[in-house]
Amino acid sequence: MLRKIRIVLAALFWVGVTALFLDFTGTLHAWLGWMAKVQFLPAVLALNLGVIVALVLLTLVCGRVYCSVICPMGVFQDIVSWIHGKGKKKNRYRFSYSPAKNWLRYSMLGILIIAIVAGIGSVVALLAPYSAYGRIVSNIFAPVYGWGNNLLALIDAHFDSYNFYTKEVWLRSLPTFIIALVTLVAVVILAWKNGRTYCNTICPVGTTLGLLSKFSLFGPVINESKCVNCGLCGKQCKAACIDTKNHKIDYSRCVDCMDCIESCKSKAISYSFRYGKKDSEPAPAKAEKAGAADAGRRAFMMGSAIALGTAAAKAQDMKVDGGLAAVTGKMIPERETHLVPAGATGLKHLAQHCTGCQLCVSVCPNNVLRPSTSLKNLMQPEMSYERGYCRPECTKCSEVCPAGAIVKITPEEKTSIQVGHAEVDLFLCIANNEGVNCGNCARHCPAGAIKMVKEEGSDVRIPSVNPERCIGCGACEYVCPARPLSAIHVEGHEVHRSI
């Protein structure tokens, strides 16, 4: 019974959290947004005390239920492991007890704490389980979902109905994609072979909760008088934490999945008060030599291969009608300071709070947000304007962030938050170079910060930016006709300010 309840709840959470990352329309967040906000590490970084206290209490009372129900990465591993166990009995009973690898566990936790304190966001993002899962969904599952949606949109278009619309599917960051892929492969292999290895050796959240669950009030308890020493429970324990010979359970690794309770034919295991009649001290597990360290996951490459098409077709001897001029794709300009969304309040705040879960990236409707490729902020979001600009009325990313890295703002507030300012490069500007009466940047500036001005003695109007009014939305950069590099681009601000 308890196992069934666990499975139902876990399924609900897992489907909900996964859907949050897949749903690019942003409608689910109103209903399920809390599922991301109750995740442990984001709650810690957001200093969301209510959630932290609740999770700590839950673990102290019930054990690591969090890992079995709430954590999408944990549930995902259970699913992989369950698929392997289906069918042949041999596979279902493939587990066996192994001592805890405390050395590895605690050093991983130590690294995380150091990274949080030092504000090295990339390391935090790499280790956080919820974020690692989010990355897998948004980089690997979401494109498949997007293509499926686009196929429906294509069919829909044939019937002239508007139920589905096409969603651009593009590679936002190659390093992040590679990391997500490597993580997925590693986690699947580990779960396929040994169940919850990742949770009990690498995951710092698992280790933290394990420290608490060691002393949990309730947990699976073996009744030695009923036990027939068949060892079935240990063979089915995906956390490899039941020492069947000594009738001991390592509660720091047990995720309270209740599988052992169901497996026991003589009903010798029950989920009950651990400090009842007999007081059994948890056996101090010997630290064994750490297993193979996590495979190197670094891969850094610039992912902006730009096909340099030909520029606008010039007049021929005979101008013929029709046809489309080739349009060169835009290139990401080199920004001295990163651009991060309004609500992040500044680079430092984002770096310190973001767990790199990609939820904001998945919901950005304007194709602006993408995971950073810089070493220090790897996988944390940053903005760029080749495919759209940060529309002033949109506050999606600030609504979904579970870690408080992007604080909730209103559209009104957003219109006065300066995340950066535009800079003109007259060398590239077609008004300046070709005398074209352009002004597209000024026409699209929602803040009225760009004016087309004439210099003394000149009869062409060139853009000039009033940095006091510019909010850094990037409309100018997006619509600038200069290609592949825009003649006007936005430089980020380290600390956002209200104007």
């Binding site: 949109a153 278009a157 046809g323 759209g388 529309r391």
Partner: protein, 444 residues
Amino acid sequence: MDRRDFIKSAGAGAAAFGLAACTNNKSVTVDTKLGEMTYRTNPNSGDKTSLLGYGTMRWQMIKNADGKDVIDQDSVNELVDRAIEAGINYFDSSPVYLQGQSEQATGLALARHPRNSYFIATKLSNFSNWTKENSILMYKKSLENFQTDYLDYYLLHAVSGEAVFRQRFVDNGMMEYLMEERKAGRIRNLGFSFHGPASGFDEMMKYHEQYHWDFVQIQMNYSDWTHQTREAKAQYMYEELTKRGIPVVIMEPLLGGALAQVPDAIAKRFMEREPSRSIASWAFRFCGTHPNVLVTLSGMTYREHLEDNLKSFCPLVPLTEEELEFLESQASLMKEYPTISCTGCKYCMPCPYGIDIPTIFAHYNKCVNEGNVVDLENATPEQKEFRKARRAYLISYDRALEKVRQADHCVGCEECMSHCPQHIRIPRELQRIDRYVNNLKKTF
């Protein structure tokens, strides 16, 4: 005898000529049978031309192996064969149509038929280089493309008045050259196509004495008849030409399809009056009803267009006075809609900045006609209708156009403006649409 009876008798008389009627279908009426094509006689040359002429600006395009747009020659051959079979004998082209491919493709299809079974009309489209050498080169190339040594109808392409006429045709000595060619019989009829204000038309009429225009091609349809505001009204031009005995060739009888895709509310009125006829057929019959019209050109891209038009002209059933008044009233109603008078001729293309101008306009007009363009000042975002229209507009906009080809990328260089025969202020309209889209996006 009312019209239906007339059609019945006409249809029955020419049953052998028309399509085989499907006898086991109860709903089939004699209307689906075609009678004889209506012909008009050119008073100057005695040519017996079909009242429906084939415009070749809108052939089907396909992508070739290199991803380039090329004319689908197979479909051209099939359509030309069907047209000739049904009695169409007037084919109108230009060296610049369809990225310069129209003449050759049309020529290839026509060359499979005897040269005396059709009339070729094409144009001197010396827009970008009007030196005499280049203009003669263009003329010679047309003869080559049509695999012939004479052209039946030759037009000075898109003249708007004296200034343009003198610049492109008089000052460079081309008129003298063309008059010689006419004398030699290599140009059988010399005329011009006109897009411009009434004053410009008057100027061109003054030259009639000097050059003797054998025919003139004007934009005429029930909307431009009296409702044209910027350009010369069709009625005025038609009457001026008739007065001088110059036969009229009609272009844009449908305004680039605008008179086939009318606003829903107006479409209903047409359908109520003539449930079995297409809305487009009204526009064609309007043109044919005027006796001095020699040919009504239609750019029939698909077989269905051709068959539908054949129904209107095989034979033509002229509109009654009452029907003409009805059209006039519908034209006034249409003027109330904020559609853009783009005919999709693509003269403005390619835009050097990659904007797909005709598609943006066509999409906008479609949304206006379907009632999916809302008055943002009077609609509230909470209204259900507003939300539906907003969604429809934004989704179909992205479906119709790649992002980089949408109106927000128009820089306003105005390079397109001089090419537009409708004299649409393209950048201004594009920016108007862009503002509308932007306002829709703002109302989350």
